[in-house]
Amino acid sequence: MGETSINFAKASSAALQDQQLRGNFRRAMDGLMSKRAVQFADTAEWNGVRTLGASVRLRALSKLPELLEKLEANCTKNGIQVHWASTTDEANAIVLSIMQRVNAKLVVKGKSMVSEEMHLNAFLEKHGIESLESDLGEYIVQLDEAMPSHIIMPAIHMNTKQIAHLFKQKIKEAEYTEDVAQLTDLARRVLRKKFATADVGISGVNMAVAETGTLCLVENEGNGRMSTTVPPVHIAVMGLEKVVEKLEDVPPVISLLTRSATAQPITTYVNMISSPRKEGEKDGPNEIHLVILDNGRSGIYADEELRNTLRCIRCGACMNHCPVYTKVGGHAYQAPYPGPIGSILMPQVEGLEKRGELPHACTMCNACVEICPVKIPIVEIMGRLRSEAVHPGDAVKGAGSHASKAEAMVWKGWSMTYASPLAYQFATALLAKLGNAAPASLPLLKEWTNVRSKPRFASRTLHALAREKGIPDV
C-alpha cells in the first residue's frame, strides 16, 4: 500500500473499542431498518417500484451522453448556466471563479455528497470565503471539525450530550442544554442570519431532468430551499450520473429514495428548480449555475460491470443494513462515501492504491444487494475490485497495486498441488503428520488464530481412510 492509502483495518479496530460509538450506531441503524421494512411491507408494490426505479436508472445510463447534452441544452434554454469539470480541482476552480466574480464572502451550503468529494469547504476557506453547512447534521459535523459518518445522517455517530457540549463550546450565545428542541432552535437562530446575508447558496442535486432542465432536491429541513432561494446566486454541483431522462421518471426514484433512506413516504420538501428568477418574480436567485462533475465516473462508465455503480441514488440503505458498517460506523472508512456503496465507489474514483482496502470491508453477506432499491450488484463488484487490486489491468485505476509476491506464490503453490495427484497426496500426508506442529503464530495462520482456535488436522487423510474401507482411489 502506498503512503496515502487508507487504513480501514486500523480505524475499524479503534472504532470497535468505542462502546459509545457502537451503541449510537446500533440504535440508529436498528431503528432505520425496522421503519424501512414497514414502508415496503407490501411486497408486490416494493417489487414493482423497485423494478421501475432500476429501469429508470439503467435507461438513463444507456443514453447518458445524449441525456447530459439534452440537460445542458434545456438548462441553458431556461437560463441555468452549465459548467463541466473533469476533476474535483476543476470543479472547485469553477465554483471559486463564480464566487470571485460576485465578490462572495459568505456561502450557505445545502447537503451535497459531491461537494464532500470536492472538499469544497476547505478549498473555499483557503480562498477567504466562509462556507457554512446549513443542514443541521452537516452543521454539527462542521462545528466538530469532523467528517460526516453517514450520507443521509451526517452526525449519527454523536449523541445528544455530545452535541450539547459541542454547541456550548462553539456557539457564542449557547446555554448548555440537552433538550433537542432547544438545540434545534439555537441552530435555527444562528443559521437564519446566515441565510439572510449569504452571497451565494450551494446545493447538490438528487436528480436532474434532461427533458425539462429541472434540478430536483429532496430534504426535510428547508435549508436546501433557503440556500437555493435567498442568496442572489445559486450554484448546484452534481456527479454526471445524476441525470434522468423524463420528468415522469422522478416520482418512482423519489419514492424509493425517501423510503429507503429515512423510511419516510416522502420528505417534507421536494424542490424542483427549472430557472433563475424571471422577469416580475420577487425572489429566487438571479443566477443559477450547474457544475457537472466527472471525477473518474466516465472511466467507471466505460466498464460494463462497474458501470452499475453509477445507478446509485444515494439513499444509504446499503450502509444501514451492512453488518460491517453498523459495527464500525462511517468514520472508519475515512471516505466521503462509507459503507458498501463507498467500498465500491471510492476505489473506482480515487484508485485502488489509495482505497484498495475498502472492498475487503465486507463479509459478502449480500444484505446490501437485497436491500438496494435500484438493484446494484454491490457484492459482485466488490469481488471484482478485490481481484483487480491484485491483478494488473486497466479497468480500475491502480489495478495490481495490492499484488503481493508471497500471496501470489501461495496461490500458485495451491493451484499446482491441486492440479497434480502426486503433489496433493504428498501435501495431505505431510499435513496429517506435521500440520499440528505448526505454531499458531506462523504468518497467514496468525490472522486466523488471532480470534479463532487453530484448526486441527486429522492424523490420517480421507484417501487413507477410504482405502481402509475398501474404496479404491479413482
Partner: protein, 223 residues
C-alpha cells in the same frame, strides 16, 4: 464549449458505444394502479400529514377568509403575509377589512422584491398564506407552484405557513398529478411538494420541528 465538456462526453460516448446498454422498458403500472376513492383521498392526506404535525382547518368557499382571520387571532398571530394580486389575496384583503375584528392580525402584502423586503421578512413576519395546486393521497403532499404574485419565500420563511387546499383538487400519486397536467410541457421557476412543517432528526434521531422553515403548517381545506 469547454475542453472538459468535450472530453467527458467523448469518453462517455466511446465507453457506451464499446459496450452498449440496451435501454430497458419502464413499466409505470405500479404508480398507475395506485387509486383511492374521492373521500378516501382526503382522509388519507389528512392522516399522513397529521402524522408529521400538519394542522387542518376545515372551512367553506364562503367563509374561508373570516375563518382564517379568526384562527390567526385565536393563535395570537401578529401578522399574515399574503399575495395581494391573486384572486385569493384580493378576497382576503376585501373581507379582512370588512370583518373589522379589532386586535386581529395585520395583513402584509408581499409586494416588493426580496432585496428590499428581506429584513422584515426574516424578522417581522409570523405567518404566510399561499394557494396550492392540490394535494397527493399517496404521500400526503401539497403541490405548491410559487408565482410572481405568490413568491417562493412566502411558504418558507414565516414561522407558520397556511396553505389553501380545495377539497376537489386531489390526486392519487405525484406521477398522476404531473402526467395528467402535462407538467413536462412547461415547468415553472420553482415547483414544490410540501408534506409538513420543516423538521429534522439529526440530533440522535429525535424529531424536532421548525429547524429552518415554518414551525407550523396549517392546511385550510375549502369545501
Amino acid at each position: 464549449m469547454s475542453e472538459s465538456r468535450n472530453a467527458i462526453l467523448g469518453k462517455l460516448r466511446a465507453g457506451r458505444d464499446a459496450h452498449p446498454l440496451p435501454p430497458p422498458e419502464s413499466d409505470f403500472a405500479v404508480l398507475r394502479n395506485k387509486r383511492w376513492d374521492g373521500a378516501e383521498r382526503l382522509e388519507r392526506i389528512k392522516r399522513m400529514m397529521e402524522a408529521v404535525h400538519t394542522e387542518f382547518l376545515e372551512t367553506t368557499e364562503a367563509d374561508w377568509p373570516t375563518d382564517v382571520q379568526a384562527f390567526l387571532k385565536a393563535q395570537g398571530t401578529r401578522n399574515l403575509l399574503f399575495g395581494p394580486a391573486t384572486e385569493a389575496g384580493a378576497r382576503l384583503s376585501a373581507e379582512w377589512t370588512a370583518s373589522g375584528m379589532a386586535g386581529g392580525p395585520e395583513l402584509i402584502p408581499y409586494a416588493d422584491r426580496v432585496e428590499t423586503f428581506k429584513e422584515r421578512l426574516f424578522d417581522g413576519i409570523d405567518a404566510g398564506i399561499t394557494t396550492t395546486l392540490g394535494a397527493i393521497a399517496d404521500t400526503g403532499s401539497l403541490i405548491v407552484w410559487p408565482t410572481p404574485e405568490e413568491p417562493r419565500l412566502m411558504s418558507l420563511v414565516p414561522h407558520m405557513h397556511l396553505a389553501l387546499l380545495r377539497a376537489d383538487a386531489l390526486y392519487d400519486t405525484f406521477w398522476q398529478a404531473m402526467t395528467e397536467n402535462r407538467w413536462a410541457d412547461g415547468m415553472p421557476t420553482n415547483a414544490l411538494l410540501i408534506s409538513g412543517p420543516s423538521k429534522t432528526a439529526d440530533i440522535e434521531q429525535t424529531l424536532a420541528y421548525g429547524v429552518h422553515g415554518p414551525k407550523r403548517l396549517v392546511v385550510v381545506i375549502i369545501r
